[in-house]
Amino acid sequence: MPRDKSLKSVLIIGSGPIIIGQACEFDYAGSQASRSLREEGIEVTLINSNPATIMTDPVTADNVYLKPLTKQSIREILEKHQIDAVLPTMGGQTALNLAIECQNAGIWEKYGVKMIGVDIKAIETTEDREKFRLKMHEIGVDVCKGEVATSFLTGKEIAQEIGFPLVIRPSFTLGGTGGSFVNDPKAFDNALNDGLQASPIHEVLVEKSIMGWKEYELELLRDNIGNIIIICSIENFDPMGIHTGDSITVAPAMTLPDTIYQRMRDLAKTMMNAIGQFAGGCNVQFAVNPESDQIIGIEINPRVSRSSALASKATGYPIAKIAAKLAIGYNLDELNNQITKTTSAFFEPTVDYVIVKVPRWNFDKFKGSDRKLGLQMKSVGEAMGIGRNFQEALQKACQSLEIKRNGLGADGRELKDQDAILYSLEHPSWNRLFHIYDAFKLGIPTKTIQKLTKIDPWFLNQIEELIILEKEIEKLSIETIPKEILLEAKQKGYADRQIAHLLKCLESEVYKKRTEMGINRVYKLVDTCAAEFEAQTPYYYSTFSEENESIVSDREKVLVLGSGPNRIGQGIEFDYSCVHGVLAAKECGYETIMINCNPETVSTDFDIADKLYFEPVFWEHIYDIIQLEKPIGVIVQLGGQTALKLSEKLERHGIKILGTSFNALDLAEDRGRFSDLLKENNIPFPEYGTIEDAESAVELSKEIGFPLLVRPSYVLGGQSMKIVINEEELEQHVVEILKDKPDGRILLDHFLEGAIEAEADAICDGEDVYIIGVMQHIEPAGIHSGDSYAVLPPYNLGDFVMRQIENYTERIAVALKTVGLINIQFAIKNDKVYIIEANPRASRTVPFICKAYKEPYVNYATKVMLGKKKVKDFDFKPVKKGYAIKEPVFSFDKFPNVNKELGPEMKSTGESIYFIDDLMDDYFLKIYSERNLYLSK
């Protein structure tokens, strides 16, 4: 059936602020869906309260509503626009829940809105554990033995009947919230209570535990006439027992024979058909008993998900884009494969490489949290590595993580404590993968590792092979290493730095040796079809083999460095900036090249940049791409700290940094040099000093005076920052920091107690400055800017203070010779404005200001960086009406026992925007009156 011509205007619901379990994969899905519908001439209206998204950008949709995801907002939109249909499957559980609420309230019916791409009954069947179980029984799909309990008593009875170990899974919760494994009756009562509490309908499934079984996911697409394709099979490296969002996952499935895979494929199709007839995407999870090959259906999600974003990036098949087309009536065979552009969209991608996704956790931000992995998702982001084999993909994923490691092992940071390793193998946390490596290195037998981890022996063998190779390399030196071994190490994904560690030489020596030997990276296409057909879409990954497929054009190129995996302090905001940077450079006529390794993002959508290299934002990979592509320069100021910290090496290798120079970036980070600059310009800042040990810290504190803000230099999101009020606390915290960074320098700032905080973002071309926005925080100083409510423009700063802020911003931007964006943070006490810090780069708040004032500041700033425009070339016309409030959003529900106290270290995972007309607004008055209650957030 061709597309439904009656649909002229579609509403897409977004997923709201980023929380654990629901991240920027939905920005990717929503943006794709929107573009896909607009291609068809459909008017797209978007609602999402998350300002840091590309989906809510005027480049993506026709009408954008940055409103709370509530029935009321939906009503307002429907009053204003003639909407024919709503597509609620692109915004995660949040969007589905809102769509159901509106359905129950009769809103869709009242306004004549058709729900597309979804079947409400299907959602009910899949979300309600009991309905799901009954449905599976009906169609003959094996499920775990278990029953639904709606009260404490029935829960206890069921447990008695099934026996331990058990799993408790609450109904209608996100990311496995409230779920747990229970090994013995003692722990059961508490776990049951928690589960019932977590479920909005007070219902849990008490189920037999199948911990240790192999775990798989299939991503399906179905059209209106029932054609189904499987886009991707994903195998979990971590077996059943760890939430799939917290599992290392691999695609395609590595250890499944065809017989079992096809049975699973049949089951997935049966399950999708049984839950309802809707056109769109679906994710099905299975467990396989490694002894008997028995397959059990775990769950089915009738919508686009985190896994479908991963599957899209893993295969090159854009699931959300196609799902949107299916929702408006197209059949799969009427659409083209988006990569080859010549073959059919009705086909199943086949890949000739391996992808490994490794989650990124941030437990360090949640002091006192339970770091054990289980049914509830705890990771905040993920990185994906693509390689020609599993080992290469695994090493690349580990190089992408931004955890100060050079990959998996070979960096001198191995754990050698046997007991600690054995404990970790059995009680997985974020570092189990590294401990498996450590275990092999210590000589712990594979059998023992397998028994404790239950990980498929094939995967373990892959890691063991790495250790065998390393032992061989360690016997050699940079002079004696033969080409075969060096090549094998590179093919297994080892970074030059890792090899240098093993050979006890310098990274540069390894690089030199391998290039002399002709061991060079080549680039292969992600083409959905294992090279069977020619592909038109330039989506690449690197490997070490013979043929390079990345043909370099003769156009001038600009390279944009991405921001890597999401983590607290560096999230979707930076992806927003990167995407706009790419689009702006394109507008200026450059060929754009994007490098990033985060599969959830819009920047890694191969439709964005002219060329996408899905590679770690890790020096060696960046450098090799630069060697190949020879861009005119690199943009580092859009990709957060990840990109910024590569600027030193770029500078050293004579590679042009577009925009603000390395020297200026470094000056702003170096507190000493920066303070000298402020002093020269007669700009006030809190008294400070730099120390290297606890003793001098105490000495210095006498000069500066308490309270003191203590922090290491070069940090992200206020990591390890703390306010101390006496010598004892100071000493303690300094020792704590030095434990992690023994050679680091520590900054002590006098903390301006009770000060008001504000921040400004500006664009500067080196001479002229335009302040795009000034925000005033609601909470007093001491809380990380990312965790504060911020109001744009300031709500009660007087003219005198504003003049100081503007004046200082302009002078600092020029003094730093900023070319591009700059963010400056201020503390205001007794009408005097002090500079806390300056960051000459895109900040977390830039997207927020862009959305509030409806102007494309990143686009402008990029054109300035490229030297194509000056600040005075732009006609700034911000839409200034009322105030915009940035509301931080936390994921504390995932860490029930964590101290929720806020401080200088950032803890929020996302943000939303809220517009008010005036300061008498109830919402504003409420948060303003609670500004000092932040301790109990």
């Binding site: 006439i225 029932g226 054609n227 394709i229 499987i230 099979s233 395609p252 499935a253 590595m254 250890t255 499944l256 024979p257 065809d258 017989t259 895979y261 096809q262 494929r265 049949d266 490694p290 002894e291 090959d293 059949n331 799969l332 065979d333 073959t343 059919s344 009705f346 086909f347 199943e348 991608p349 086949t350 890949v351 000739d352 490489y353 391996v354 020609r388 084999n389 599993f390 498929d456 022996p457 094939w458 063998n461 092979e465 065998i468 190779l469 061989e472 075969e484 071994i485 094998e488 292969k524 079809c529 294992a530 090279a531 069977e532 057909f533 020619e534 083999s545 013979e546 043929e547 497929e549």
Partner: protein, 368 residues
């Protein structure tokens, strides 16, 4: 595998060569090189008699991970002339496996080469077309290998069915069944017989060159003509048999080579594809229902579409959505149909099993 293996060489007819490591049996073996894009099912592929005389490149990055298991063979031993893979796993993790792939290949004298840039190789074949090749772990002397390679026959006009089919006719299925299907084995996969038997048929499998007269004596309710290797136009004997089956008015179903032979018997021509269709993800549209299916395919020859469209008594029923190649046909006014792809899958998706049901239904209707 830290380079303890012997090196091996792969030489193509056009002079291109690749160096890798020897896997399976050490030796030298030649054939037509082709690639299969499936990500699972290597053992089924290697034992499929349709691959007789061919060197198979597996495009998927890892091979051998789950070992081998006797029940998952499509014939008694590997039929391929050799294999080319990217990363070869000597160890396997499937607890029910019988042996490792390496041991299995060694035991069955199959020669292979690993650690080759298979993607480069596939792109080469995609551009240059199918050609002969030779793998050797015995010599890297190009002159010797070139001479040996020149002795490998060209696939065009090559008859291979008689070399892989059963030598004696045999029965397959439950003896108590009454529905009789006479199978002309031109290189049959076991799973086809299993599919027929599961649906209540007892099959008698005849060697490729069996005459219709001999088959007819068994008094079958329906006929089946199997998949197999080689060029259909080099099989006048089978075309003759099929013409006689068509004349008998009994239900007939053909798969792959069988489909091509049915076309030839209807006066429609076949041709050699540039580099064939081999994989588990080929999209086919059923023109009769409008529905699509993901199919398992393995063919280097195909039925000519123009020639088919000119035929008055044959209807195009299925097409390959990627390139429009004929994927299925039906003989009008007869109970005869055939498909280019593999509804028995093995390896591959089960979307097309309905074709076996249709065949069985045709037979049942014909009996009644």
């Amino acid at each position: 595998m830290t380079n303890t293996r012997k090196s091996a060489i792969l030489l193509l007819e056009d002079g291109t060569s690749f160096i890798g490591n020897s896997i399976g049996k050490e030796g030298t073996s030649g054939g037509e090189i082709c690639f299969n894009t499936g990500m699972t099912g290597y053992q089924e592929i290697y034992t499929d008699p349709s691959y007789f005389g061919q060197i198979v490149i597996n495009t998927t990055s890892h091979i051998g991970n789950y070992g081998t298991i006797d029940q998952e063979q499509e014939s008694d031993f590997p039929k391929i002339s050799g294999l080319v893979v990217n990363s070869f796993s000597a160890m396997h993790s499937r607890s029910t496996a019988d042996e490792s792939l390496d041991d299995y290949l060694k035991r069955n004298n199959t020669v292979g080469i690993a650690e080759v840039d298979t993607r480069n190789l596939v792109r080469h074949i995609r551009d240059k077309g199918a050609m002969n090749a030779i793998i050797s772990s015995e010599t890297d002397d190009i002159h010797v290998l070139k001479r040996k390679l020149s002795e490998v026959p060209s696939m065009a006009n090559l008859e291979l069915s008689s070399r892989v089919c059963t030598k004696e006719s045999y029965l397959f299925g439950d003896d108590n069944r009454t529905m009789k299907v006479a199978v002309l084995d031109v290189g049959i996969k076991k799973s086809i017989l299993k599919n027929l038997a599961e649906r209540g048929a007892i099959c008698k499998v005849f060697p490729a060159e069996t005459s219709f007269e001999e088959m007819e004596t068994w008094n079958a309710d329906g006929y089946f003509i199997s998949n197999g290797p080689g060029d259909p136009s080099a099989m006048p004997y089978a075309v003759k048999t099929v013409k006689q089956i068509l004349a008998s008015d009994k239900p007939l179903f053909g798969i792959c080579l069988g489909h091509q032979i049915i076309a030839l018997a209807c006066g429609i021509s076949t041709y050699k594809l540039h580099h064939g269709h081999r994989g588990l993800n080929h999209p086919v549209k059923n023109l009769e229902t409008g529905l699509c299916e993901i199919t398992s395919q393995n063919h280097g020859f195909a039925v000519d579409k123009e020639s088919l469209e000119q035929s008055k008594n044959v209807k195009l029923t299925h097409i390959n959505l990627n390139d429009g190649v004929v994927a299925g046909l039906r003989v009008l006014d007869k109970k005869v149909f055939s498909v280019q792809y593999h509804p028995e899958a093995s390896p591959g998706p089960h979307d097309s099993k309905y074709l076996f049901d249709q065949f069985i239904n045709l037979i049942q209707q014909n009996i009644n």
